[in-house]
């Protein structure tokens, strides 16, 4: 077991990527992801990491380079955020369809406009339909650990899918925390070399990226969905193996005091940490508050979420994202659909857009509101925005 080192979220990802020995890193700078790629550039330029570092001219080309390198058989890493992800959006679908285990670190940042560099999970949430495995981390340690698990999950031959994992802009990306590190040897034993699903062999040529029309597109998409659904098994297996290696066990839904809870807060990302503190306070007052963090977001852990929420009267979702004109924000909608055949009342909240602080008091208000709902048993009709100036909560 390695030592504890102070690192920011971005650095924890960069150091973990280094241990995974990628062959190609193609990335374009965007705040607040920059430190991830700056550190990786340092490693390459100082000869500490043997990778091709491609300083591309855009995120669109970053993802296109990753596509090419991954088809060539390389282990590939990139990182982005916000507008960068929006620019590479087109290629995300193509990478997943080609079954390429590209790994991308995301510093989850609010989308423009107005331009804003602070936290928002919508950049990654809107990628829910791209066919990528999607994970949200809640602190620097989970960012470090998820990086190492990410390559193993994505490159597993049963999976062979791209994977993105996020840390909240600045709140995690630039926050300094103690991270328990791993040795290169340990990671080397844990993560086997990439064994690609297919290769570009001039002696046995294949075509990748063909035109598939009405007679085949439909079946290909069905097959792709089966791979995505089945990837859940590998994700859990890798989480288990990682736990055995490090003693740090992750779950697709991380729960905290959920077993006997009357009200459960459903969170993603950095808000999870604050919500834990609120749970501690309420528990010390004898109030049955619990927490379910949707750590793995795609494939969506339906069964695990239902299990986590099954005893509760109310589940309060907190979305750090907005989808306009929808029945509710993205996390809320997924939770609602998952529990539509029975389960707690789902009460939706939006918080912290554009990096607005979500404080302990804010989450306490959410909990109080959910306890009221539990008492009345009446399903709320609207989504509540926490702390919007001029709007009554």
């Amino acid at each position: 077991m390695g030592e504890i080192v102070g690192m920011t979220g971005d650095e924890s990802i960069a150091y973990a990527v280094k241990l995974c020995d990628p062959d190609v890193i193609a990335a374009y700078p965007i705040t607040p992801q920059t430190i991830m790629v700056e550190r990786l550039a340092d490693f390459v330029y100082d000869g500490e990491l043997d990778s091709e570092f491609i300083p591309v001219e855009s995120e669109h080309s970053a993802m296109s380079c990753c596509y090419g390198s991954s088809i060539a058989g390389a282990r590939v890493f990139t990182a982005s955020a916000s507008q960068g992800i929006a620019l590479m959006f087109e290629i995300l679908f193509i990478v997943s369809n080609a079954r390429l285990p590209v790994v991308m670190g995301v510093a989850n940042r609010a989308l423009s406009a107005p331009i804003n560099i602070h936290a928002g999970l919508e950049d990654q949430l809107v990628c829910r339909d791209t066919g990528w495995i999607s994970i949200f981390c809640h602190d620097c340690q989970s960012a470090y650990d998820t990086t190492i698990m990410a390559f193993k999950i994505a490159e597993d031959k049963e999976v062979s899918l791209p994977l993105m994992y996020g840390i909240d802009a600045f709140i995690i990306s630039h926050a300094l925390e103690g991270v328990e590190t791993l040795e290169k040897r340990e990671v080397g034993d844990f993560l086997p070399p990439r064994d690609p699903l297919y290769v570009l062999d001039p002696d046995d040529p294949i075509s990748v990226g063909s035109l598939a029309l009405q007679d085949s597109y439909y079946e290909l998409k069905y097959a792709q969905e089966q791979v995505m659904i089945n990837s859940m098994k590998t994700i859990k297996k890798v989480q288990e193996e990682f736990g055995e290696l490090t003693g740090r066990y992750y779950n697709v839904i991380n729960t905290y005091y959920a077993e006997d809870a009357e009200v459960i807060l459903v969170t993603q990302g950095a808000i999870t940490g604050t919500a834990r503190t609120v749970v501690d306070r309420y528990r010390s007052q004898g109030k049955k508050l619990g927490l379910a963090q949707v750590h793995v977001y795609r494939p969506f852990p339906e069964k695990e979420l239902r299990d986590a929420l099954k005893g509760a009267k109310v589940a309060a979702t907190i979305d750090r994202s907005i989808t306009f004109g929808a029945p509710g924000p993205i996390l809320y909608s997924d939770v609602k659909v998952t529990t539509s055949n029975g389960g707690p009342i789902i009460q939706g909240f939006i918080a912290g857009l554009g990096g607005r602080d979500v404080r302990i008091e804010d989450i306490a208000k959410v909990a109080d509101r959910a306890f009221e709902t539990a008492k009345t048993g009446e399903e709320p009709t609207k989504i509540s925005w926490i702390g919007v100036r001029g709007v009554e909560f």
Binding site: I54, V56, E57, C65, Y67, S70, P205, S207, L213
Partner: protein
């Protein structure tokens, strides 16, 4: 920056067509769906005939891509990759970098492998120019070939940055007021050359020997290289499919699409057209229905003469760059 040009460095091997034609070279299999008279498959064929090492090909979205790889079939006899419209140069960069890293780290056997991107003019002059510029600037060891048929032929003949002045397309029709495309095409070859890569050239399907020689040089470069291939499209140009090579030849003889190379910064004309042999642009225009509105119902001398002036000006500019004095 190199002191020796590719021409000096690369010993020229004789081109033996008969042998090349009978050798088992991985090219395009018969049965692809490209139109009769389309120059795109010829561009691929001449390119692949010039290769001496195994190649991985990349295509951007376009006619060549959709017509050669209709799932579950493929015409490609060498590894081939398609991603999207605007990123062939970036995908090729990624493949090159991936192979380089894997070979350096002894994860795959060391073997010289060409990475060749084929893209149409839309995917190069317009939507793909950023990715192209990035790849050229970073100097990946790839060859990027644009097959220029002067429009978005695949989506139904819309104008592109490569469409000639005065040409009718579905988005620059030969109208009653505006007689075809009002703008002259952008000079993609000089744009590529301005990146100071080792080798940039123009080729033409009517000049296969010159074509093969230039591809060999491009592949000998230790850098990104760029080739512009003039590629007639009978469907989009409203031309007889038996006339493609004749039209391609006229493109050179009218000096509309001259043959030259930029070898380590040195411009060199590879097909001199003497003053007395230089044909008027009209000879080129007449062969294609996309210019018909310049002749019927009334002859548009103004447009034809503007085009002639532009061609003469570009030709003189090129002669100066190549250090050629007309007698």
């Amino acid at each position: 920056m190199t002191e020796t040009t590719i021409t000096e460095k690369k010993k020229e091997k004789p081109i033996k067509w008969r042998e090349m034609a009978f050798e088992e070279r991985p090219v395009l299999a018969a049965g692809h769906r490209l139109c009769a008279g389309c120059a795109a498959p010829l561009v691929v064929k001449f390119t692949m005939m010039a290769t001496e090492d195994p190649s991985i090909c990349v295509s951007s979205t376009g006619c060549l891509e959709v017509s050669t790889t209709i799932y579950p079939y493929t015409a490609w006899q060498t590894p081939w990759v398609h991603c999207a419209f605007e990123n062939a140069a970036a995908v090729a960069s990624g493949i090159e970098a991936g192979l380089k890293a894997l070979m350096r780290k002894n994860k795959i056997p060391k073997r010289k492998t060409n990475v060749i991107a084929f893209s149409g003019d839309g995917g190069t002059y317009d939507i793909g120019i950023q990715a192209l510029s990035g790849a050229l600037e970073r100097g990946h060891n790839i060859l990027y070939i644009v097959y220029d048929n002067g429009a978005y032929e695949n989506t139904g003949i819309q104008r592109s940055g490569a469409t000639p002045y005065g040409a009718a397309t579905t988005t620059s029709p030969g109208g009653k007021v505006i007689p075809g495309k009002p703008e002259f095409p952008k000079d993609i070859v000089k744009i590529a050359a301005a990146h100071d890569v080792q080798y940039v050239a123009t080729v033409n399907v009517a000049y296969p020997k010159d074509f093969v020689k230039k591809v060999r040089k491009a592949l000998a470069a230790d850098d990104a290289s760029f080739i512009h291939a003039f590629a007639p499209c009978p469907l989009g140009w409203r031309a007889d499919s038996s006339m493609s090579i004749r039209i391609a030849d006229l493109a050179v003889k009218t000096c509309m699409y001259p043959l030259y190379e930029v070898d380590c910064g040195e411009f060199k004309l590879t097909k001199m057209i003497k003053k007395e042999n230089k044909l008027p642009v009209e000879e080129f225009l007449k062969t294609q229905g996309r210019f018909r509105h310049l002749f019927k119902p009334t002859r548009r001398d103004d447009v034809i003469s503007d085009m002639q002036k532009w061609v003469d000006w570009k030709w003189q500019q090129l002669l100066r760059l190549c250090g050629v004095k007309e007698e």
